[in-house]
């Protein structure tokens, strides 16, 4: 007996997974739409982060901000999208279920209505119409939730998070610059922190510094 090779097994596995997912989508479209949205956000986050990283024409400071913006966008957008869409879908479905309780007759009429639209088709199953209505309302309200999450809640949050990161980056860069340029002694007198202080405070500070530098383990020459 011939054993199926690895390729056939792999292709069968993919087919089976796609078919399972397709049936899930048939049963529960709103959940499928939510999952598709989440995969879309992940794709965008991966692509855009890579795009910022490899773009050589963007200056360093803006690059830092945009990189932080993309990472924050991915994380915040994913969390808010997932939460709000799931909440909206659940409530939409619940709303439709409550509305349609003990109202089976109307779905019989809807079934007739749908029959008119499709040429040569006998009749939709009443339970299918009922479930599609619940699912459809879940999808519509879920889409409203996802649009709100994606476009009105996460952009200000991600911008705020990215600006915090950028400020921290600028602070670090200016600190490193001031250390490397030996700014305390090289800069003009009006910018020097020590000269802006009163003479007595300046003297105290200098003496403190010199006392510290005398302690073992710190070589004052290494500091400058």
């Amino acid at each position: 007996m011939k054993t199926p090779n690895l390729l056939v097994k792999f292709s069968n596995m993919i087919k089976t997974e796609v078919i399972k997912a397709a049936f899930e989508a048939m049963n529960n479209k709103s959940e499928f739409i939510k999952k598709a949205g989440i995969i879309g956000i992940l794709t965008t986050a991966v692509c855009q982060t890579t795009a910022v990283l490899i773009n050589k024409d963007v200056p360093k400071k803006e690059k830092k901000f945009m990189l932080a913006q993309e990472l924050a966008d991915g994380a915040i957008n994913l969390t808010i999208f997932w939460t709000l869409t799931a909440l909206c879908i659940r409530n939409g479905r619940r709303l439709a279920t409550n509305w349609t309780e003990n109202k089976a007759k109307i779905f019989d009429q809807v079934s007739d209505e749908l029959k008119k639209e499709t040429k040569g088709f006998n009749k939709y199953h009443i339970h299918k119409v009922h479930q599609d209505y619940i699912d459809g309302l879940g999808t519509i309200i879920g889409m409203i939730g996802s649009v709100t999450a994606n476009n009105f809640i996460s952009p200000p949050l991600r911008n705020y998070a990215a600006s915090l990161y950028q400020k921290e980056h600028i602070r670090q860069v200016s600190y490193q610059q001031s250390v490397s340029n030996n700014s305390i002694f090289d800069k003009p007198a009006q910018n020097n922190v020590l000269t802006q202080q009163k003479p007595l405070t300046q003297y105290n500070n200098m003496s403190k510094f010199l006392n510290q530098s005398k302690s073992p383990g710190i070589n004052p020459l290494r500091l400058f």
């Binding site: 069968n12 796609v18 989508a25 048939m26 003990n102 339970h127 459809g136 519509i140």
Partner: protein
Amino acid sequence: MQVRPSIKNCFEQFMLNEKKIARVVKFNENFTTWHQRLVLGIASISSQPFFDYYNKNVDQETRNYSAVRTVAKIIVGTTEGCLVRFLAIKYGKKIAFNWLSKGNSKENSAVVKELNTFFDTRKGYFKGKADLQDENHNVYKSSATRFGRYSDKLNDWIKAVREHVEKGGNFDNFNFETEEIKDLSRFLKESGNVLSVASAFIAGLIIDIPMTNKVLNWGMDSLFPEHRHKKDGENK
């Protein structure tokens, strides 16, 4: 005494008529991933650039870069996303139909097993569903064995669909007189949807990254040339 209806009741009355229910059912059937991408894209371009441009936490130059980048990202992402998803759904249906076309052969056993599990048992639309009732408590029973064995009918269905396509019909609407064929059409559509999500991921990696950068650089050159071609030291 007349009771004043609440907003919730008004909305319920508004939504619960035959035509609106039929519209929602049709929407649920026909809503695909490319529609979703389009809706999100349109909403994004009408809101996100403004958030970026009026972001007071950063300086003007960063704001300009960020807003132009967001526009570039949305235009490229939406165009590419919609196009790839649309094509993937169109060809995904044919791919899924080709999988079914192998019928009850041995190599297709995994596929047929899945189909049987779905259509045979109550795992389809009626999983765990209670019987429906109307106002007078008349019961509309949910049928447990709606389709019978899928694999028994598979070859007949495939033959019917093939004839339909050969005559010039498309995969969207088979218009046959049975609900099973209608479900087959829906199954192919959803398979296309699933394949579209996977292909959009791959296409995003290949197309999105270079295209976004090109559109960003072009946009910055034409809109804010004063920020361009600076040395890094000037921007720190």
